[in-house]
């Protein structure tokens, strides 16, 4: 159990009532962001994102596989998340926790629903061979707001991904690792996450802000400002106004985030 001392709760809440935050940020201000790509030589795509103290590494590995029967000409994306026990004293070794599954699925939804990876170009032979992209999210330091850091890292890693050329020779797939091609991507997406503290919606929450918050809202937005993914979390409700305000803010903030890519 991750208990927050009452005094922390009070001090954070009082600050936010007055539109202030522990680290001096405005309520709609992000922490420092840094993005590095191609950080793993053995991965076909990779990125490391720092969002304040939060750190996430993503590696992309392609594998040839069979398409799903109902989409015989489309490649496949698989998003996995490991909340490593190194990242947080409360994370446990073992199979993915429910939090970890939710993170992977929400981040994946942003990528998938914005249809930014051109899956039809990942088909090698219809009905038989398609590229499967394994997107592995490695959470290594949790200082709050894993969602936005993870979405940025996945987006950056996808943009850095190069696949070997595949062709069919005598009914078998032949790979040419010398001649690679950029993973075809035709959009960009970023996620903007809010928590509710008092009656304010606060952007890019720190860990302590997450702990004292009553609710969470993730908003995934594409380059064109269209909403592609949302998820409410947390033990308490949100009002319609909370949500509409947050969505409006998210549409402008994600433009800034996409600049980093």
């Amino acid at each position: 159990m991750d208990i927050v001392p009452e005094i922390t709760r009070e001090s954070i809440t009082n600050l936010i009532i007055n539109d202030k935050r522990e680290d001096g940020r405005a309520l709609d201000e992000y922490r420092d962001i840094s993005i590095e790509t191609n950080v793993i030589s053995k991965a076909e795509g990779s990125a490391r994102v720092k969002l304040g103290g939060t750190q996430v590494i993503v590696g992309i590995k392609p594998q040839l596989g069979s398409p799903f029967p109902d989409t015989p000409d489309l490649g496949v994306l698989m998003t996995n998340c490991e909340m490593l026990p190194m990242a947080d004293p409360t994370f446990e070794p073992g199979p993915p926790s429910d939090d970890s599954i939710e993170l992977a699925r929400v981040v994946d939804r942003g990528i998938r629903e914005s249809e930014l990876v051109e899956l039809d170009k990942l088909c090698v032979e219809e009905g038989k061979h398609v590229w499967m992209l394994f997107i592995d999210l490695h959470i290594i330091d949790n200082c709050g707001n894993l969602f936005d850091a993870a979405e940025l890292a996945v987006m950056a890693a996808l943009k850095s991904t190069k696949l070997p050329t595949a062709s069919i020779v005598d009914d078998e797939v032949v790979l040419d690792k010398e001649n690679t091609f950029d993973l075809p991507i035709n959009n960009e997406v970023a996620m903007c996450t809010f928590v509710k503290i008092g009656d304010k919606m606060v952007i890019d929450p720190s860990l302590d802000e997450e702990r004292v918050a009553s609710a969470r809202l993730n908003v995934g937005v594409t380059r064109e400002g269209r909403i592609c993914a949302m998820q409410k979390g947390g033990k308490y409700p949100l009002t319609k106004d909370d949500i509409f305000t947050a969505v409006n803010t998210a549409i402008s903030k994600t433009k800034d985030l996409i600049e980093y890519l």
Partner: protein, 230 residues
């Protein structure tokens, strides 16, 4: 909003036929059965009760645990028994959706277990599960300040419509399931998949909230029917 008629003949703001029944199981402390379109959902509630899983309990309040599960035969291609990533996520957000209405402060160190079984699935099972679970919680006598209710809106053929069927969900452009506490209109579940402008999103929320209010009436009818016949 358009006058378009949908594939199954519904208007844009029309729900699929719904049937709710409270108290359908003998052993459970509370239960409910719900059909909406082709969905068949069964919910059982146990508790507040003791639990041997001590690390889940809290000293100042009762807690809830929710398990959403699909029967292997509930879908066209048999589903392997047991939890998968999708059901883990739905279980989590369903617990989040129901928790705000529960008043468990007088039940420290106790647990309420909510078991949602999808017997047959045809689009919209998560909202249907929440709606049925709220009825089962009342049936179990768990103290609540409101009866949570779920409903989805979505976008099909560029139109915002209510309560997507399985076909509409597959072929549609977006799905926005929500749950609310009808007395205050507060939102306890919200997801959105797909492509929406800000305006469409707002329309979807408004439409889904209307849908919730209609389903809420059916929840109350089901409970009244149960209590009046008892």
């Amino acid at each position: 909003m358009s006058e378009m008629i949908r594939e199954d003949g519904r208007k844009y703001n029309e729900l699929r036929p719904i049937k709710i029944e409270a108290g359908v199981l003998e052993r459970a402390d509370g239960s409910a059965y719900l059909e909406v379109g082709g969905n068949k959902i069964l919910v059982a509630v146990y508790g507040p009760r003791e639990s041997y899983i001590r690390r889940l309990l809290e000293p100042n309040t009762g807690v809830i645990r929710c398990r959403y599960n699909m029967a292997p035969f509930s879908v066209d291609d048999r589903k392997r028994p047991g939890p998968d990533r999708r059901s883990a996520e739905i279980s989590k957000i369903t617990a989040d959706a129901l928790r705000p209405a529960l008043m468990l402060e007088n039940y420290p160190r106790s647990m309420v277990d909510i078991y949602i079984e999808v017997i047959e699935a045809e689009g919209g099972t998560r909202c249907a599960g929440i709606t049925a679970a709220a009825v089962a919680l009342v049936d179990a006598g768990v103290p609540m300040k409101d009866i949570v209710v779920g409903c989805a809106a979505g976008k099909v053929n560029d139109e915002v419509v209510l309560d997507l069927s399985e076909v509409e969900d597959k072929e549609g452009q977006a799905d926005v399931p929500i749950a609310i506490m009808p007395r205050t209109g507060e939102i306890t579940l919200l997801q959105s998949d797909g492509d929406l402008t800000e305006e469409e999103f707002q329309q979807a929320i408004d439409l889904a909230m209307e849908g919730c209010m209609k389903v809420s009436e059916l929840q109350k009818e089901a409970l009244m029917k149960k209590y009046s016949t008892e």
